[in-house]
Structure formats: C-alpha cells, structure tokens
Symmetry: D2
Subunit: 274 residues, 4 copies
Amino acid sequence: MPSVAAKFRRIALIGKLRSPEVEASLGEIRKFLSSRGCEVLKDGGGADLAIVVGGDGTMLAAARELVPAGVPLVGINQGRVGFMTDIGYDDMRAGIGAILEGRYVVEERSLIDAEILREGKSMLRTVALNEAVVGKGSQGRLIEFELSLDGEFVYALRADGIIVATPTGSTAYSLSAGGPILHPDLDAIVLTPICAHSLNARAVVLSAGEAITIRVEPTGAPSVLTVDGQEGEPLQPDDIVRVARAACRTRLVRLGRTGFYRLLRTKLSWGGER
Amino acid sequence: MPSVAAKFRRIALIGKLRSPEVEASLGEIRKFLSSRGCEVLKDGGGADLAIVVGGDGTMLAAARELVPAGVPLVGINQGRVGFMTDIGYDDMRAGIGAILEGRYVVEERSLIDAEILREGKSMLRTVALNEAVVGKGSQGRLIEFELSLDGEFVYALRADGIIVATPTGSTAYSLSAGGPILHPDLDAIVLTPICAHSLNARAVVLSAGEAITIRVEPTGAPSVLTVDGQEGEPLQPDDIVRVARAACRTRLVRLGRTGFYRLLRTKLSWGGER
Amino acid sequence: MPSVAAKFRRIALIGKLRSPEVEASLGEIRKFLSSRGCEVLKDGGGADLAIVVGGDGTMLAAARELVPAGVPLVGINQGRVGFMTDIGYDDMRAGIGAILEGRYVVEERSLIDAEILREGKSMLRTVALNEAVVGKGSQGRLIEFELSLDGEFVYALRADGIIVATPTGSTAYSLSAGGPILHPDLDAIVLTPICAHSLNARAVVLSAGEAITIRVEPTGAPSVLTVDGQEGEPLQPDDIVRVARAACRTRLVRLGRTGFYRLLRTKLSWGGER
Amino acid sequence: MPSVAAKFRRIALIGKLRSPEVEASLGEIRKFLSSRGCEVLKDGGGADLAIVVGGDGTMLAAARELVPAGVPLVGINQGRVGFMTDIGYDDMRAGIGAILEGRYVVEERSLIDAEILREGKSMLRTVALNEAVVGKGSQGRLIEFELSLDGEFVYALRADGIIVATPTGSTAYSLSAGGPILHPDLDAIVLTPICAHSLNARAVVLSAGEAITIRVEPTGAPSVLTVDGQEGEPLQPDDIVRVARAACRTRLVRLGRTGFYRLLRTKLSWGGER
C-alpha cells in the first residue's frame, strides 16, 4: 500500500510534555525541522504531517485525534521497535531527514468507530485504532452482555468483558486475551471475549463491514467502555455499544515496508525455544 | 473425608433478606427446624451448624465469616446444583431432615489467607474459599507486579491481574482465565495470570504450603485486591499482598459423597460434542 | 450470497454403501427422485446437483471430488444439524422436494489448494474444504518446519503440526487446536499451530490471497500431509507444502439462509453456563 | 530435598554412540574418572552413579532404565541448560569433579507407571519420567476414549489424545498442549487433553495417588501409547491403559539447588515483554 511520496512542509509536533526526555526530543526535532525550512505547528489540524514523540499510548491518542483531518503520522519512540513506529530517538535526524526527502512509504490502517446509545440517543462517539472494550469496572464480579452481529443474535455472555479489535489491535490486548493475530491487510475485525464464564466462547473474526452490537445486561456488574486503553466511559444497564468500521483510515508514514512477520518475530520472540 | 455424624441442635440461619424468595425459604426452614426441636440462631458464632440460603456469593461470604468459629455449613440454593451445595429449594425439608437425622457427610475444603502489607504494616487480613485476585481497578491499562514464591523471585508481569485459587476456586474464575481444574483433595494452590502481556506466562500449581508474595509495581495502573468476588480493596504502589494456606478449613455438610467428576460433567457440559 | 433458483434434472446420489442405514436412505431418495421425473446418476460428473448422504467426512470427500465439475451439493445427514447440511433423514422428502421446486439458497464456500513439491517437482495436488494439516506421523516426537507467507519468512517451529484452514474449516480441527472462528463470508485463511513447543506461537489470520509455504525440516520427526481428515500423505525432509486459495469454490444448496451464529450457538452450546 | 552426600566409586557412562561429539565427550569423561580412581562401567546395573551424556531423550531413556536399580543420575548436555541437567560440555570436568568430592544435592522426581491391559491381560508395563500419552497414530482422524479416575467415570472424549504427566513432565509436552506447570515438589499428576473436540475439556490436576484409567473406544481412529516421547505402542479397541504413580523415584544429582523458577524464567523467557 505504499503511496507516491509527497512533500511535507507544515509539520505538527506532538508529545506529552510531562517527561523531560520527550521535551528535549521535541526541541531537537523542532530545530531540525526549521533548519530544513519546514513550518512547525502545535496543532495537527492544518498540518501535512504529524510527528508523534512517545510510546504507544501517545501514538494511539494522536491517531484518534488527527484522523478526521486526514493527517498522516510518523512515530518516534524511546524504546524498542514498535508495531506502529520504526524510528528510535537515536535515529531521529536520519529518519525524519529521509522522510522529508521523500524516502518513505505510507501504510494505511483501518479504524473502528464506537458509539454508546442510551434510550436511543447517542451519548458518545469515538474512533479506535487498536480496540474498543466493554469490560468490568472496579467491581470484582462479571459483567453480562448480549452480542449481535449484523442484526443476528450471537450470544449472551458473562465475562470480564469483550474486545472488538482491528488488525492493528489484534497484536495488543486481544492477543493477551487469547485472540488470533490478524494480518494488517485484512479487512476484518476480531471479537475476543475476556475470561468468559462459558468455556466455549471463542474469538470470532468477521468482515469489517459487519455491524457489531453489544447490549449491557442489567444483571451483571457495572461495565465500562474503554477505547485504545484510555480512561473508561461508564455504561448503564441496557446501554447499547455499537461498533463498526470507521469511514476514515489512519496513514502511518514509515521508512520502509515493515516486514510484518519480522516484526512479530521480534515482538513475540518467535523462533525462541524452551 | 466424610466424618462421623454429629447431632446438630443449635442452628444458624443465614441468607440475604433482600429477595422475597429467600425470605420465604428462611421462614419455612425456621418453622421446620423448630418443629424438630432445634434452636434457631441469627448469629453463626455459637451454632453447631449454619444453613445458608442463596447463591454462591452468599455461601462464600458465610464460609469466610464462620470459619474462625469452626461452624460447618450446609448450602441451599435456588438454582442449579452447585460445586458447594446439593440441596435445592424443592428438597429443603427432605434434605435438612436427613442431615438432622445424621445422614450426611462432611467435606473439608482448604482456604487461603490473604494479607496486604503497606510499609511493613498489615492493612487487611482475610480468608478466601475460592480465590484472591490482584487485578486492575476501573482503569483500562495493565497493572504490573512482581511474583515471588517461597522467597524466590518468579517473574515481573504486566497483566490484567493474577488469581491465587484454592482447589475449590479452581473451577470458578481461575478456570475462566485458562487455569486447570484441581481435585478438591489436592493440597495445592494454583496461580493463574489474567490476560498477561507476555504470552508465555502460564498457570502454575504449587504445594499449598508455599508462601506467595505479590508486590504491586508503581509503573502499572492502579490495582485492587478482590477476595471471593467481593468488593475490592484498593492497593497502593509497593504494597505487598501475601497469600498462604489458611490455618483453618471450611467444613461443608452434604447429603452424600459428591462425585466430583459427575459434578464437573454437569457444570462444564462434558460429554457434549459439537 | 443466495443465487437465483435453477431447475435440477440430472441428480447424482452419493453415499458410502457400507452402512445399511445409508443404503436404505439412498434407495428411498432414488425412488422419490424418479417419481419427480429426475434422472439419477451414479457419477457426479455430468449432474446438475449431487445429493450426499452421510456425515461430515462423506460431504468433505464429495466436495473435493465434485468441485472441478462445478456441481452443487446438498447434504443429508443422519445426526444432528451440521455446519454444511440442514436436512436430516426424517425430513428428506420434504427437503429434497423443496429444492426441486426451487425453494433453496446457494452458499458458496472457498476452498484451498495444497501441493507437495519435492526437489522442485509437484508430487501431489489436491483441494480441501476444511483444512490442510502438516502434522506428525505415528512417531511421538515433534516435527519441525519453516513457515513463509508471501515469500516472507515467518518462523521455524517445533510442534505436533500446523493447520491451514478455510473459514468453513475454522469451526473444525482448527478450533480444537485453539484457533478462532472465521465468518464464512470472510475471504481469509487461518494458520493454527498444533501443540507448539514455543508458547508464543499463535493463530494467524491472513488474506486468502497470500501464498503459504511450509518447508519440512530434516531435524524433526517424520511428517504427513492430511487434507480434510483423509488418509495422510507421508512427507520427506525438505519437502515443500504450498497452500493457496483454490481457483474454484464449492456451492452448497440449502433450504434457507443458515444463520451462522445460530448454528454456532447450537454446535458450541453457546449460552450454556456452568 | 537434598540428601547427605555419598561417595561415588563405580560409575556407569551412558550416551548414544551415534554422534562423534558425544563419543568424544564419553572418552574424555572416562579418562577423567579413571584419573580419580573411579571404576567405569558400561552397564548401569551395579553402579553407584550414572553419568548420562546427551539431550533430554537420552536422559529420559536412562531414567526409565535405571530406576529399578535405584541408581542416581547426572546429566551432561551439549546445549542449553535443561530442566534435568545443569552441566554443559564445557564444564564437565569441574562439574563431575565437584560431584566426586561430595559437593552436590540430590533431587528426587516422581515417576508414573503405565500398563496396557488387553482382555484383562497385561501386555506392556513401563515407567515414565515425563508423561504417558494415549494419542492418535498416523491417521488424521480423532481417537475416542473414556477416562475414569479412581473408578469414577470422568468423560468420553474425542481428541488427538490425552497426556498424563508428572510434575517433571508438566513443563514438556503437556505445557505445549495447554497444561499448567506443576512445582516438582507437588505429589500430583496432570491430565491434559490434546486438541479435544469438545471445547470445555480442560487440564485436571489430581493427587498422584489416584488411579487413572483410559479405555480406547472402537469408534475412534487407531491409537498409540507413547511414553516419554519414545517409539509408540499400538493400542487396540477396548484396550485399557492404566496409569498410576510408580513405586520408585528417580534421583537426579545436581550441583546445587536448582532454583525451579529461575529455570522456568530462562526456559520460557519469562520477563520478556512484547
């Protein structure tokens, strides 16, 4: 899916200012961008490109925020190579330099759109790059919900929750809950139950076009909608959470074709033997 | 492990008064007990036997409360046959009658003892019949903790939590999280991680005599200690949760030798084929 | 995916003659078809429709055999409702009658194509409706293989084997090995390792268009290629098994839109609680 | 469980002579032992100690062979540190020297005893250090069997097989099939189904004293009994495989207290994060 290279001139710089390390990096990048004749913006809205400095959480938040404006993202992270970034702090100048010179590829990632309906009214609507989770709040007991897919009733389940994940999110929380890995090119969504009481509840992979409806049962413990691991939104009994493929997609700017399986080998220690 | 039959004269009646159905049953049992010359107590402390009316939650709470006084329990539940009870509402008179006449067996179940240590001081100490869970609170992110067994460091884990379950609890929440079933006669404890980020974290079964220490890392999300599915107790960074076999055991009074595997077949639909 | 109804005149009858029950059913159907003016063929080649009497194995074998000739299939089975059939022995006349009168829908199912390459030469080529498995033979030890996807090396694994399953096959052996359920409309394939030595080997779902290559390592135990649970084909060290989406699809004739999730609920006892 | 040190004078040397590397090591050890005044035996029967050179397979075979004679074992392996050995090729002299001087501990490991009964007659009886497996032969289809524990019927299962593992074997094949890890001090056995058709079949841990009976059903595919990964023994329909704790135990001679969890961390890459 690499697209033809475009020139980036107006660049938004995004990062949590809490950490001195991130702040130093942001300063360094700002100088570097100016020296290359780029305009540095604080707001992503009107930018050609957003450079995001930080971990997965920062990247996920930026993706959700910038996707309506269609701004492509490049991630720079402190730590190990990530599923969404391949530029580390040490390679910042070289990496950003290459991108400014047009040596990059663009990976498109699908998003999902999650909405809470209460008595027929929309209470909240948001997009997720990784996953939307209907899960238990701080109470120790199970939540209960009914799942429908494309209008067809699937099951009523007692569980810690259920994860609706994109292919990008399939290697995150969904994997920890026992879900499969979805290739990023697949136009699909995976539903992964979390600690279901019934032992034969299993992960289901479906076409991204299907409409997913989760209705919170009043019989279970209080539940919460969490999107990309952010602060949760409390749900009320009989609330309906509707999840569907989002109309828009995120564009990740990378230095080269990722090598999805190479990345998996690194991140999941494949090849390691006990 | 059935013991010789003893006569029960002073009997405590326990049940949540919230439900009219439970209240009616309690009234009926009270009359029945009086007609047999038994004294009915409201408090379990001085009783020879406690009759618990309600579901698993009520039974677990009663077990925890009465275990220091050494009072044996018999459970009466509305619904399906349970891992801890075999008398339903419809068989109440016959069941209790049989027990008063000495036709019963006693099953002993081991308990665990969970304690929160904060800066060396004990903040809370409680027993559990099923399990103690160090898990995440209402936040969507992972908690982090260090596990040590008998003083030996085992691992540092990022996860939704970890379950320390008795054999009795091995068929409850631990099973939903992927843990094995432990035979009730086994003097063992199972440690089951919940949605661990690392894919090779696995359930570990150990001798009930080993001391288990879970230290909450400040890097993770806020965590909570939950015992037998009750209201959780918030933990602070660097808190230590210590779990060990309890000194005392619960005694369940049953109409006959349970047939543990028959019960599993019923509850887990073993024998069912797709 | 229901297609416009077509008239069926030349009908092949397929079933294992070993069982007297199947034989009786075949006789009965033959009479019924003749009474409706249909020509009954023994060979599927020139037929408009094939009626298959028997279990899943018979149906899978018929699907593989008739797919090159493009003959649609209807299954009649003795037992419980199946993922591929919805007519039981008792409803034979009514069911076949409805189909002859044009009251039916056609479900298309994708197939995979598996080929053994030995020193560059094709040794065997076959299609599968459920799955192709590279697994261990009768020896107790692990096999070893290298997996590549679209030419990219994925991992070298020691395991009991690996399953390459279609969406149809995702509810069969792959599910038993821990794989996810794939909706039948999804144009995807799932790769599910069987008892992998490495604990972080996980099921991977990929676009059906990707080429899958499994190379048998000489260091492991003797391995075998098994297709839809039929007799296995022994593999030699350095053999390459190539699996890809088949060019053709099977067409299943059914009485109505299946209700995939209703079927799953029945077959997997969803909704059942312990 | 370390025992008081004993002096070893008559030492058996065991290793597969197929590999030149093993042969060279055997020669070197032989010289070293002679220089220390030890008598080197080819047969383990009358020895005080057996030194086993090779991998896990060689060690398992030696354990099974020498256990009736009560000879303790020390393993020397080429590769990575193992669950049963902690001396590598490079440390041979130092390691064996330390043991001859009495600086060692003895770890006792429990064994299981597996027997095939055909029409009431014992056809084969053998011990296993890791596991006994009733599994499918080279055929692709499922086997069927009935499991009973202490005379109580547990379930009839269709599966690839079932593993009966010791604590030592719980970190081997049973772990790959989804079983839990059992601490080596635990007097228990774990039963782990392999790819069961029924999704709610789960690993069961039971007291090592329970008698395990697996009856092969004539309805399934041909099955095989495999012990510690050796050549399998074909089973016939209605054969009964009886497994129980063996009367004897293996004694492993090690340089120091192993640190079971440290070993797990190394072998399972615990602490690794994706």
